[in-house]
């Protein structure tokens, strides 16, 4: 977790990037701290790559300012910024070998042959490619290309490393392995990492903080846990994973919290989300499917509701149940581990579900 005392590394102030009437990025304001592993998460076309390219200097904002380490970046081209990028296609120079690729940016620094070689060797061993200096760029596997791209950027010792969907071209197993490695690498070098991804699990697993983006706007900036458990609106909640949306009637609204009545969960007091605006007396609550637990046999919970199993989907370690609850317009989704036999529950079975009222969150539309 980042220390609150670290200084801001990237300051993005009401940055807009427009193409005619279309705002690829719309008044984005964001501060990324030194040494943070920060993710820009959202579906394609949400503006996350636009923002990354603005930080890298491949593109200029239509309005607003970006500062890196306190320095305003207006008019400063990509080749003069203290940032380096790992491209989605990796952009390994095919006419150069691995060593020459990694040394590409060092040539401009005039370090001398010995120091240059030392830094190339160091960067390659950092990404577990020591000894592959003379391998041709076209002879590398996908995972190796990715590592070369990483070494080529890290060898520059940037203040900020930008990663544009670096794992999307890898197969699932390699991707998960690289997630762990990238995180370790970031902690070892202590450089600010900014990762662009559309994969919510990747963002949750790797980041100190995440900015979730939709339609050119930043919807929420917070820690993975907070984003997942307390999403500010339906869109964020939905994008981060399964969510039961529950219709509720507003009873009371004050500065920080609201009180609502629901058919199945009764009266609930919960934090008021940012940008919450109740439409008349109507509000929406959310609860994640894994926060509803099947109560077996005589087990009880402080808060429980009863329902009927109407669908069952088996996923190996978990089973996904669809449960009808009296008074609710939609059935509830429940994710249950298979250690007590959720995979054997017959359709039509009457079950009780336990929950923690804290798992119920109010969602803005």
């Amino acid at each position: 977790m980042p220390e609150p005392a670290t200084r801001p590394m990237i300051e993005i102030e009401t940055v807009t990037r427009s193409y005619g009437d279309f705002h690829a990025l719309d008044r984005a304001t964001l501060t990324i701290r030194e040494g943070e592993f920060f993710s820009l998460l959202g579906p394609s076309g949400c503006g996350k790559t636009t923002l990354l390219r603005l930080i890298a200097g491949f593109d200029q904002p239509t309005s607003g300012t970006i500062a890196i380490d306190g320095q305003p970046m207006d008019g400063i081209p990509a080749n003069a910024r203290p940032t380096n990028m790992v491209f989605q296609s990796y952009a390994i120079f095919p006419h150069l070998n691995v060593g020459e690729n990694v040394a590409y940016g060092l040539k401009k620094m005039k370090l001398g042959a010995a120091e240059e070689k030392r830094r190339v060797d160091e960067a390659l061993s950092m990404v577990s490619l020591a000894g592959l200096q003379n391998r041709g760029a076209t002879e590398l596997s996908g995972g190796q290309r990715q590592r070369v791209a990483l070494a080529r950027a890290l060898v520059m010792r940037p203040k900020v490393l930008l990663l544009d969907e670096p794992l999307s071209a890898l197969d699932k197993k390699l991707r998960e392995q690289m997630q762990v490695e990238l995180r370790r690498l970031q902690q070892a070098v202590g450089i600010t990492f900014i990762l662009v991804t559309h994969d919510q699990y990747e963002a949750l697993a790797m980041s100190d903080r995440i900015a979730v983006m939709f339609g050119g706007r930043i919807a929420q900036v917070s820690t993975p846990k907070e984003i997942y458990q307390r999403p500010v609106n339906r869109q964020v909640a939905d994008f981060l994973g399964g969510m039961n949306f529950i219709r509720a009637d507003l009873v009371e609204e004050n500065g920080e919290s609201i009180v609502v009545d629901t058919a199945a969960f009764g009266r609930v007091r919960t934090d008021k989300p940012r940008a919450f605006a109740a439409k008349g007396r109507e509000a929406t609550l959310g609860i994640r499917p894994e926060r509803l637990r099947v109560l077996w046999d005589d087990a009880t919970a402080k808060h429980e509701i009863a329902g009927t199993v109407v669908e069952r989907h088996y996923f190996g370690e978990i089973t996904h149940l669809v449960v009808d609850v009296a008074g609710m317009d939609k059935p509830l989704s429940v994710t249950e581990t298979n250690d007590f036999g959720a995979d054997d529950l017959p359709l039509g079975a009457k079950i009780r579900l336990g929950y923690d009222p804290d798992a119920l969150v109010a969602l803005a539309d």
């Binding site: 296609s89 095919p94 996908g142």
Partner: protein, 273 residues
């Protein structure tokens, strides 16, 4: 298999063989007669000789024409390639209004009757009061070479991963440095290929050289001039054979390089595991 199909299967290879023979037999006769000791190109052959080749360097007019062809060929190839690089890059990299029309217009000289183009240029050159020299021939040749150069270069630039240039900038390189260290080396095979194709087209071109050359004669125009004298025919055949061989060699190298450039730019994607 139906009867018609069986017939086609039996006779199509024969047809194809005949067709190729028709295409290449006349061209094959050229080297054969150039090595024949008789001065008239006729069967039966009278004996093997290299005297027609040996005689070539002793003809000053031919040497002048060869030199002129070399100068025009190199200049036209270089000019067409430089212009071609700009055009091919613009056509593959950017999207702009009138792009397709522009591409079509650049390629059009490929199918335009060259004699019309040559005469049109001649009229303009004369109206401008320019003397007819190798310079005017070169201008004409640039026009003829450009479509070939551009199509070779476009196939090199197409699929060129733009992020390679961005990566270079990201690593601190200037745009000129990026062009020198990334774009140029990656495009080198396509550029050399374009130079070779341009040179070959210029070397073989008669129409532009004939109309725009004035008293400066290139090899094809020289050959045409020699055809009036029956006694010089074997020498022309020998010269023609050399030109033929040179063209084939140059175009083969050009095509190999073009393919290499294409392979190079298309293996840059990260999706190849």
């Amino acid at each position: 298999m139906s009867a018609a199909r069986r017939l086609a299967a039996n006779w199509l290879p024969a047809y194809a063989a005949l067709f190729v023979l028709f295409l290449y037999l006349p061209v094959l006769l050229l080297p054969i007669f150039s090595l024949n000791s008789s001065a008239s190109p006729r069967f039966p052959l009278t004996g093997f000789t290299l005297k027609w080749y040996a005689g070539l360097p002793k003809t000053p007019a031919l040497l002048d024409a060869a030199w002129n062809s070399l100068v025009v060929g190199v200049s036209a190839a270089v000019l067409a390639t430089v212009l071609g690089i700009c055009a091919a890059r613009a056509l593959t990299r950017y999207r702009f209004r009138g792009q397709r029309a522009m591409q079509g217009l650049i390629m059009a000289p490929l199918v335009m009757p060259e004699i019309i183009v040559a005469v049109s240029i001649l009229i303009i050159v004369l109206a401008l009061g320019m003397p007819l020299t190798l310079f005017t021939v070169t201008l004409g040749h640039v026009l003829v070479c450009l479509p070939y150069s551009i199509s070779v270069l476009i196939s090199g630039f197409e699929g060129f991963d733009r992020s390679l240039e961005e990566a270079s900038a990201d690593l601190g390189e200037t745009s000129f440095g990026t062009f020198r260290r990334v774009t140029l080396p990656m495009m080198a095979p396509a550029i050399i290929s374009s130079l070779l194709v341009g040179f070959t087209i210029s070397l073989d071109d008669f129409m532009m050289a004939f109309f725009l050359g004035g008293n400066d004669v290139t090899l094809p125009v020289y050959i045409w001039g020699q055809l009036r004298f029956a006694a010089r025919l074997p020498g022309v055949l020998a010269l023609g054979t050399l030109l033929l061989v040179a063209s084939i060699v140059l175009l083969t190298i050009a095509e190999l390089l073009r393919r290499r450039a294409q392979e190079r730019t298309q293996t840059t994607g990260g999706l190849l595991a």
